[in-house]
Amino acid sequence: MAGANPGIEGRFKRKQRRERIERRVYFVASFALLMLIWEACRAVGLINPKLFPSIAAVAQSCVAQLRDGSLQQHMYASFLRVLVSFSIGIVLAVIFGFLIGWFRVVRLLADPGINFFRALPPIALIPLMIIFFGIGETSKIIVLSYASFFPALVVIYQALVSLDPIYVRAARTLGATNMEMFRKIILPQLVPHIITACRVSLGVCWATLVAAELIAAQRGIGAMMVEAQNFFQMPPLVLGIILIGIISLVMDAIVRLIETKATQWQEKMSN
């Protein structure tokens, strides 16, 4: 702001940088510790070394699969499924969220149904979907879309009904039409909630992916793991687990980055 003291500003920047570096060091240390425990457990014999591979073996299998391109294919297949299903789920959730939040009749009609379906784990739909659509992509996309739809729907419509009506009032007295009200008052207030919805949905969608791929798929990280299990190849199996964890971390970090950019105006409880 105008007239801020450059000395204080500099000190604040330095402090921020120090904290950032600190966080990174701990991030690396945390994973290093996990790897240490992993190797230690094998060395001491806490887990059977035949059943659980070494870090080197997993890394080797990773490099080998990258070389022959199969790992890329598996990851591409999984990503595509999640991306398509997540997009379908979120778009539908935004549309239905608005309908439910805006129209009382729709809300009353939909509420019991929503509560039923949101309590139903997406995996429970897989057998039915396989009978309906076979074991191809369609059944997976439907299950995954369903998985990302409901958590997002609930977040969006609850945000909509808990909006403070005072801003709508203020805009009315300034002459806003219904369309302007939607674009300039409702939507900006919902953006942070829509991003939260994306975060939740992406998590659920990714978690359901492997279950869907375990049942029937040629490609995908889940399929890779089933194959490894069938042939008792431990390194690719563990590699699959690690990849799933890393990818969900990365996706969450990306959404969080977008979130901080889009919600600068919000008052935060803490950082």
């Binding site: 009032r169 007295t173 300034l174 002459g175 105006w265």
Partner: protein, 264 residues
Amino acid sequence: MEKGIVIQGVGLTYSSAAGSFEALRDIHLSIEPGEFICLLGPSGCGKTTLLNTIAGFLEPTAGSVVMDGKRITGPGPDRGVVFQQYAVFPWLTVKENVQFGLRLAANRCSSEEIDRISEHFIDLVNLRDFKDAYPKQLSGGMKQRVAIARSYAVNPQVLLMDEPFGALDAQTRHFMQESLLQILEKERKTVVFVTHGVEEAAFLSTRVVIMAARPGRIREVIPIDVPYPRDAATKTSPEFIRIRAGIEKVVREEFQKLRSSEGI
């Protein structure tokens, strides 16, 4: 057709599952165009409620509010509101808040007009250095000034202001009072203004309406026969001081009555 705002036997009872509360009973008041009405009264006597019925946010449960011959059924841009809780849009910067109304289709402003008008009012409320700040970076009094600039900018025919200068320091408040009177000299507007300040009410208004609580009703209407333009010197004139003392007396009586009825 009668011009101005006519409040005819307005009553308003809030009801909820917890029970009902009679906030207003039998309010009669005719406000001529160009009048400046101040509502004065103890906390909880229904000032905001009455203002909200004129704004069209609340529908009276008895009687009606009529403006220029038409019954008020909802809010509209002909009645600008400065809210007691400011209601500054937190997702917009100070400048974007002030420009909000100007950018709506209803106000048909060119982009030069938008810049000129918003700059004028941002300067008036002395927030030039903060025009790109978000409301979370502002103090209560600064937010209040944003809200004032936002409603002045669209130049409504009627201004409904709910303790608009309540969060300001004494100097800024005096400045805002005087600039409001200056604006009104240039553009004839009707103002309904809620305040707890007896001096503020006497200084600004053509008539002061003193309300009583439980249920909220009009206790007394006191005309302020001090000619405009008024300035800082007005506040020290004997005439003004006499009127002010008269209002003070009624307000104090109402306050005492409320306390004894509540058994404190």
